[in-house]
């Protein structure tokens, strides 16, 4: 790696925690961001010359704090800026500071920073956009590209979201245990949203959105390092790794959706599967099941099957039933029906699916599943009707193309039959 590439990676890696600490110091998002920017500029000047500091986060926090103070002094014209030399070598100051900022502070700093982005008045997509901008440091054009909007529109959204967040009084004291748990749950939900935004690729080409999945996993791992015994954080991280392991197999060269049963399992990322499974094992040991752990367990069963025929559908059906109890939702019931179809055939599954018709009237996958079950039952006209409904509400070209393929098969099936 070139020096600049290395520094870039180091700054990206340090950003979430450095920003969290700077926010606690300044208690104002804009000031914290400004300070971090300034610290990065100085890092680019100083690190190639003096070598990188031992503790990048502590260096950035200290330099950022000083730089912001300089900015205030400069504006008020009270005092001259200190010479560049005085600031560029902080090797002596680093040690004591690193001890001052202990990990206990860091973890609540990062949690607070992420929690700010989960403002309940912000729509989910804006919570994600804000987290990407502030915590991950993605540029506005990068985020705009992922959400398929213009740079100007995204800039406006983020500015508005920031204003709303800034107006909120978020306590800077160390949170108590119940408050911390509440924050972790809210942050976990946003991380999962961020991951799904990248994973489901609604309305965007999947290629552009893979970085969203990577960022979600990076933040999850970071949080997990700070809260190592949180079973649902273990479960969530495992879930994301296991889902993401299939990303290379999910779309073909033309960008069309490849169903689980048709995926080339050699393309699944074994490293992610191994890490996800290891995290899930750690979580399950505690015997405190939660929705993320159950979903991760389902994903692990898929990952473990060498071939689609080897999938443990009976266990998957049981896990979906457990999920229905923990977190009742028609989408979970739909997924359980898919497992039932594999276990007991399409007729049993269709009965379950039809019971969900009212709740899932606007849900793409509902009509996709219903169409597939009707096809298997030899009821092509009703299947066609279901696929047409799916087509009407498809959110991406890949989704639409997938349904068209099903309709084509249906028509061809009819021709051969007739």
């Amino acid at each position: 790696m070139s020096t600049i590439a290395w520094i870039d990676v180091a700054l990206r890696g340090a950003r979430p925690q450095a920003m969290g600490a700077l926010l606690r110091h300044f208690r104002e998002l804009d000031l914290a961001e400004e300070a971090f920017q300034e610290a990065c500029l100085r890092a680019l000047k100083s690190w190639p010359k003096n070598g990188p500091p031992r503790d990048t986060v502590a260096w950035l926090v200290l330099v950022g704090r000083n730089a912001a103070l300089d900015g205030v002094r400069k504006r008020s014209r009270e005092r001259e800026l200190p010479g560049e030399e005085a600031l560029s070598d902080l090797s002596d100051a680093e040690g004591p500071l690193a001890e001052q900022i202990d990990d206990g502070d860091y973890r609540d700093d990062l949690l607070r920073l992420l929690f700010m982005c989960c403002h309940p008045e912000l729509p989910a997509t804006q919570q994600i956009a804000l987290a990407l901008r502030i915590v991950c440091g993605l540029t506005v054009p990068e985020i705009a590209r992922a959400f398929l909007v213009t740079d100007a529109a995204m800039e406006q959204r983020i500015t508005r979201a920031k204003k709303l967040v800034a107006a909120e009084r978020i306590p800077f004291e160390t949170p108590g245990a119940p408050e911390r748990a509440e924050r972790l749950a809210a942050v976990a939900a946003v991380l999962y949203l961020l991951f799904n935004e990248g994973y489901s690729a609604t309305g965007g080409s999947a290629h552009v959105r893979v970085p969203l999945c990577d960022e979600a996993i990076r933040l999850a791992r970071l949080l997990l390092r700070l809260f190592p015994g949180e079973t649902e954080m273990l479960g969530l991280t495992a879930l994301m790794l296991l889902q993401h392991s299939r990303s290379k197999a999910r779309l073909d060269a033309q960008g069309a959706i490849v169903l689980l049963e048709d995926q080339d399992r050699a393309l699944w990322d074994r490293n992610r599967i191994a890490e996800g499974t290891a995290l899930l094992d750690k979580a399950l040991r505690h015997g405190r099941p939660g929705p993320y752990q159950v979903q991760a367990a389902i994903a692990a069963l898929h990952a473990r099957a060498p071939r689609f025929e080897d999938t443990g559908w009976a266990e998957i059906e049981q896990l979906y039933a457990a999920l229905e109890r923990l977190q009742p939702s028609p989408v979970v019931s739909l997924n359980r029906a898919v497992a039932v179809a594999r276990l007991r055939g399409p007729a049993a599954a269709l009965a379950m699916v039809d019971a969900l018709a009212k709740d899932l009237a606007g849900y793409f996958y509902f009509f996709g599943v219903r169409g597939a079950l009707l096809t298997d039952l030899g009821r092509p006209d009703e299947a066609r009707e279901a696929f047409d409904r799916a087509l009407a509400i498809a959110k991406s070209p890949a989704e639409a193309a997938h349904i068209r393929l099903q309709i084509d098969r249906l028509t061809r099936g009819k021709e051969t039959a007739g």
Partner: protein, 123 residues
């Protein structure tokens, strides 16, 4: 003598590598280890999963199982090489070669091995 070269680095930074950067670093390290293998000096090499996957067992009268790595440190143990070296000087030189290849900012701890048992029953 055999030496362990233990790789310590900031995990959050290493995790920020893009897959391309990661493969590029590994490819460069492979050049060094291939050469060591040709010289007959290379022993087992391991890359560890992130510390988030770690579980620690505290021994004692009653063992305690704790989630997470043994110690919370700024830099984490990410992997190791076992290398045959004639002297500490050679071990340092080998670590330098590896360090230049990896080009990241961590540290290598060089420790002579007292015992290395292959995974086979004792004779």
């Amino acid at each position: 003598m055999q030496y362990a070269i233990l790789c310590y680095d900031r995990e959050d930074v290493v995790e920020s590598w893009t897959p391309e950067q990661d493969s590029a670093v590994i490819a460069k390290l492979d050049v060094v280890t291939d050469e060591l293998a040709r010289e007959g000096r290379l022993g087992p090499v391991a890359r560890l999963m992130p510390t988030t996957t770690a579980t620690t067992l505290r021994k004692g009268k009653e063992t305690i199982v704790v989630d997470g790595p043994f110690a919370e440190t700024k830099e984490q143990l990410l992997g190791f090489f076992i290398v045959e070296c004639a002297s500490l000087e050679q071990a340092i030189a080998t670590a330098k070669d590896l360090g230049q290849a990896s080009s990241s900012n961590g540290s290598y701890e060089i420790r002579p091995l007292r015992l290395l048992r292959p995974g086979a029953p004792r004779p």
